[in-house]
């Protein structure tokens, strides 16, 4: 993801984080390809659920209306 694309905000529906991730994958093959590497979440991409860093093992956690899921590249210069 590069600066002209970030942050892209989309509304998603789902009961668990996994549902939301699946929905994003359906909407954007590009994001899907970036998120998943060899069957696991790409370690160069980080996800936050309501300000908490989450891992693949957290994908079964429930989500509620108004929750925010951030997907950001892990590498940034400075």
């Amino acid at each position: 993801m590069t600066s002209d694309e970030l942050p892209l905000e989309i509304q998603l529906k789902g009961k668990q984080i996994y549902d939301c991730i699946s929905e994003i994958s359906k909407q954007s093959p590009e994001i899907h390809n970036m998120l998943w590497k060899d069957g696991h979440v790409n370690p160069q991409i980080l996800m936050f659920h309501n300000n908490t860093l989450i891992r693949e093992s957290d994908f079964n956690n429930s989500v509620r209306t108004g929750d925010v899921l951030d997907i950001i590249p892990a590498i940034e210069g400075g």
């Binding site: 993801m1 590069t2 600066s3 002209d4 694309e5 970030l6 942050p7 390809n33 970036m34 590497k37 790409n42 370690p43 160069q44 991409i45 980080l46 936050f48 300000n51 908490t52 860093l53 951030d70 950001i72 590249p73 892990a74 590498i75 940034e76 210069g77 400075g78």
Partner: protein, 607 residues
Amino acid sequence: MSVVKNNLSNINDVTYQQCVINLTNSTIKVHQRHCQNLEEVLGGFARAYQTLAKHDVDHAYSENNPLIVTTGLLTGTPIMTGLRTYFCSYSPLKVSNQGRPGAMWSAASGKFGSKLRWTGIDEIVFEGRSSTPVLLHVKQSEHGPEINLIPADDYLGKSSHEKILLLQKQFADSHFAVIGEAGEHYDKCFFGSVACSTENLLKSGDDKCRWAGRGGMGSIMGYKNIIGIIADARDPKISLTGELKELNKFIATGPGSRKYREIKKGGLGGTWSNYDTLSKLNIVPENNFKPPANPKALQLARQEVEKDFVVKAENCFRCAIACHKNIYEKTTAGKHGKFLAKFDYEPLNLLSTNLGIHDSRQATELVALCDRYGMDSISAGATLSFVLDYNQRNPDAPLLNNARFGDFELIRDLLISVGQGKCLELGQGVKRLSESLNSTDYAMHVKGLELPSYLPETNPGYIWAIAGGHMSMQTYGLLAAEGETNLDYWENVIVNKGLYMVRDDITGICKFSNLDGQRLTQAISLLTGINISEDEIKTTVRHAFLRGIWLEKKQGFNDSDYELPAEILKMQNENVKTPSFLTEKYLKELKKRVFSHFDEEIKKLCA
């Protein structure tokens, strides 16, 4: 900057205050300039490059090379991170193979830029060269800005920090942009940087500047005999509207700044966290950008450093991101003691891991020394790593003091030597040094600008970075994140995505805000009354970038300059876990494709 109307039906209605100082004859003139295009309205390098284009410059250290100190439309406004100052000139480091200097800018936060705008001045153009060391004093007054050159002899030979503390005693309600010893010795050190003061520095007395480091803008100041600039103005009273409060809250807590915030604030703890991420693919530069099979990079990851030191997240003026990760001694009670250094990914990596140094105390010392003398850590670090590499390859005819990877004391001696203007070999930068030794293959630079801390074999986009590899072409993390190697992909990300990174080298806000286009237009409208669409901003940024490429070609940059370090094409590092894809043939085709886009657009833009 003032706006007569609140739309852009007539760009000429937008004006900015430009101060032109001829240092040769000490004349000072202030002009109210009417903007000619959107690049001038938004400001930053987009405005300054148009001035640079009017100057025919054969050598960076010549009287006809101007130094432009400018601001962006949002500098000094209440939008969070609206603090940027841009130092623009033809660079002593960025140089074509034909020997002509390239146009360059370097940006800094801190509070200097805001104070400058509050004096009533948006931009300063320094022409000529002073015969004696001077300070420029820009003071706000009821009758408009009062501007004077004052003698600076008493400030010579002091560090940038010492200069700022001295100036603070004389100019209480001011902020400062100054050079260190390296800039004073511009003829022996081409990568002198400019230190901009922060509130934290002035309150604590600690060396906590923000730096305009890249491209030797401090050396240009030194050549012109400008030791510092004083921006002397009262802070305006500001009341934030609801919409602006929401925008600032978004910058402080949203996804754009997440990388730079503390973990307890939902962040990743700063750019430093690249150590953890990049280590997974073994692409943290080590030993002159060649990570070994058993890397030691993680010895300097934040969690390791925090075992022995206290890390405090501190901030620029009114910024809640708090990206400054300052390292303090840890007292026996576990509290913070003396301030030691500020760690960011690039200075830390290039002055430690990439030099074979994996001790955190030694790292703090080298980072602090680089700041003390006022040098760009990227250029100093990458030139040092070349020297160490050369000495390892040429044990019978080593350079300088025969320092090798990990030789902390010898490396420290070299850093001090170049900072004091006693080591031209290092101070000229890695391009010229490697050419003088006929050993250019492993000199880590593109167009004379030393590479930041991302391996060149992971980023062909370096070729098109117009002002440093990780600040003017946002392709450096893409191979790791996306793993794509096909030509169509790289052509697209360079031509249609990466170049937009320079937006905030124009607008006056910090890249660490990562503000999206819609909110940026909202901020501009709220704070200036100017209504610009997202598309207009994108087009303006693209034009500014293309003007940068055009200026390179005007200065003689050609196909031979648009190259990556040759060794990465000849010798694949099998320890690196990203796909290997760059070959001479690949780059030749990529250059053909990218320039077919850029050249066509430049023809129309710069006709």
